[in-house]
Amino acid sequence: MDIVVEFKDIKPVVDTIHPYSNALKNSATPIVIDNGSYNCRVGWATSTRPLLVFKNVLAKPRKERGKKDGEMQIGNDIPNIEAVRGNLKTQFDKNVVTHMEVQEYIFNYTFSHLGIDTNRINHPIVITEAPLNPNFSRSLMSQLLFECFNVPSVAYCVDSLSSYWRFPSKNKTSLLVSIGYYTTHVIPIVDGIVDFKRSRRLDLGGQQITYYLQRLLQLKYPVHFNALNLSRAEELLHEHCSIAVDYRAELTKWADPDYYDTHVKLIQLPFTAPPVPLLTPEQQKGRRRETARKLVEVNARKREEKLAEDEEQLNQLLSIQDLLEEGEDDEYQRSLEEFGLKSADELLKTIATLQAKIERIRQKIANSMAGNPDENVEEPKPKIMKQMQIPRNEEDFNAWLESVRKKREELLERKAARKQRRIDMAKRRTLASVERMRLISQLAADNEKKEDDFGRRDQDWDVYKVINREGDSDSEAETERLMELEEALRAHDPTFMVDNSRTAQATAESHRLHFAVEAIRATEAIFQPQATLGWSQAGLTDMIEWVLKMFPEDVANLLAQDVCLTGGLANLPGLKEKITALVVEMRPFKSKISVRTVPEPSLGAWLGCRDFARNPESSKYFVTRAEYDEYGGDYLKEHSRSNVFNPLPAMVGISSDQQSILSSVDAPAEDIEVDIL
């Protein structure tokens, strides 16, 4: 309970450019690419581990007018993936590569980070593809590799099968379960032959689980909406999530508050404490006094300036008066006109008013000099004291304090309620706005019956009072009252300030996530997609059962004896146990069942492909450039780790088939439907 885990927020390390040695340059060593929809892993067939592992995404800054195109960033070059989340591009549509332009940039990145600087790629490529990858997608990939990069030959492997064939079972009969980023596959392998026809795919994987987890936490902590980003959800999934073997039993445990308290994980979101400690009441008073004093000073200065100005004008007017007395009439008239005065009377009048004004200002200055400046500052206080009588004896005082506190609470509550109502009103489909619409329509219906004489009587306008209920806006009087109460509390209630400071200190606490049921709830989505995400497909368990039922009993028995888990999420704690329990449940009594996880499930695909590339026997499974030109882009040489090759059905002739593939690209995109997650 006391352990608080912090987010690591690991920043990616920028990939170095690996040396392209002469030995490599002259050897035609195959390049092995596990083109996964989450991570891309790349290395030479001679490497023990992939040299590059990066997120298979590209961040392209949006084009802005008048600005040069920003730098494109790929994989580990992206310093903060959350900052560019909106501009991320991927070549994948689910688990299939469809966007070849992005794929080209990824290949550019890959090959240049392998250090290749020749004018073509002189190495065979081993690359993974989705199970039953559509021919169209493969033809695009082959076209890109052969025509854009001039590779000599290409071999395609299926990721999960590559992973499996590193550690096949003795009788080569297994039920392969692969949990990927976008999809989860169940692939039966019987006597070493992959039965694609009876394979099944669930369109749900790590990506949806991460999204589900993120949304759950965002809804639980709406305050931290932005802090709970996908990367953090991913971290939570990898570090703290597990799979409940018996989900219902686990839930019953969590329902017990004691169990919750001892098992909940506290996860700290990053937060910065307020830098300046809150001012004590004394300091606040001092600061207020200071500002008041400054204000007084400014006022005094203004007054003095005004006084000087007025005196100047008075002097001028007096000098005109002197002119008259000295008998210089011409001069006198001209001066009068200059000042915009019409007659001698007016001049006298102006002089009199000015003198009075100057006198008044002088008086004021004298007053403010003599008077205690503090008196000016404390004006609002006595007003409050007048309104609230403070009882002398302690008991009454406490009761009074309590009542003030209560009043304040009430006011605050009313304010909050009104705010909520305003928010609700602003949105459609909320109860408040629906109720309002109902009232309005009712009123409209009433009016229709009679003649329209609305507004003739004063009470007609009361309608608006009904619609608006008691005012939606905070009244000024109420705000004032609240301020008064708070002022009184501040002055007399020693705990009032303490209360405030406590909320300030609690920020660390309030940035803490309670990670409890979510740890098993998010991962349960693979098994119950309908109950959790409203998915229409059945969960993984039902899918395994479905696949097993397609086989005769004896084969199904053999399959159940080796259920093999692979894919990025296969290492989730509890997955193996859960699948064991579920398969035991669905198989006949006393069946032999065994479930295993492939070693290094997330790296398995790359390692399997590498083994394939190292094997000299494999060379016959590579499609060469000549064969590509001859048989077309979708051509595939089948091997144990590959897909089946479904040659395009003959329509008129081979050439027209090719044409149909090409022309279909040019065809206007019809029925574009956007998949909403």
Binding site: D93, V96, M100, E101, E104, N108, S112, I116, D117, R120, I121, A130, P131, N133, P134, F136, S137, Q143, H185, F196, K197, R200, R201, D203, L216, Q218, L219, K220, R248, L251, A255, I423, K427, T430, L431, V434, V517, Q528, Q530, A531, L533, G534, W535, Q537, A538, G539, D542, G632, N646, P649, S655, Q658, Q659, L662, V665, D666, A669, E670, I672, D675
Partner: protein, 137 residues
């Protein structure tokens, strides 16, 4: 081959333009990339979008495959046949009750009062996450 011809044809038609276009980003273009290669979507001047998986699969399905050919579209998982279990939207525990007002699932009376105090965007968020948000009639 028809295909090869068409690709070459494109390159021959507008070689000058291709060179001009690629000149600018040539500095960024790695040496191993074929400078004359153009994506299908760029051929013919007007930029086209890449086909989505949905379109690819639909096209693949429309072809006259021999029966029993394993295709991407044929291995979609089975639909859910059992009725889904109910879990409380806010706590994740088994949801025994439904709030008639918000339609959220809940387990205890405490949760009920929490649900009732939730702002509407949160309740709507829970519903849409579960795929159960039908608009008000």
């Amino acid at each position: 081959m028809v295909k090869k011809k068409s690709v070459e044809g494109c390159v021959e038609e507008e070689p000058a333009e291709v060179v001009e276009e690629s000149k600018d980003p040539q500095s960024k273009m790695p040496p191993f990339r074929n400078p004359n290669y153009q994506h299908q979507t760029l051929i013919g001047g007007k930029k086209k979008t890449w086909r989505s998986l949905k379109q690819i699969v639909a096209h693949e399905k429309s072809l006259p495959w021999p029966p029993e050919t394993p295709l991407y579209s044929n291995i979609g998982g089975p639909p859910a046949l059992k009725p889904p279990k109910k879990y409380s939207d806010i706590s994740g525990l088994e949801g025994k009750y439904i709030d008639p007002q918000t339609k959220l699932f809940y387990t205890t009376s405490d949760e009920f009062s929490t649900i009732r105090s939730l702002p509407s965007d949160i309740t709507a968020g829970y519903l849409s996450l579960r795929g159960a948000n039908n608009p008000i009639p």
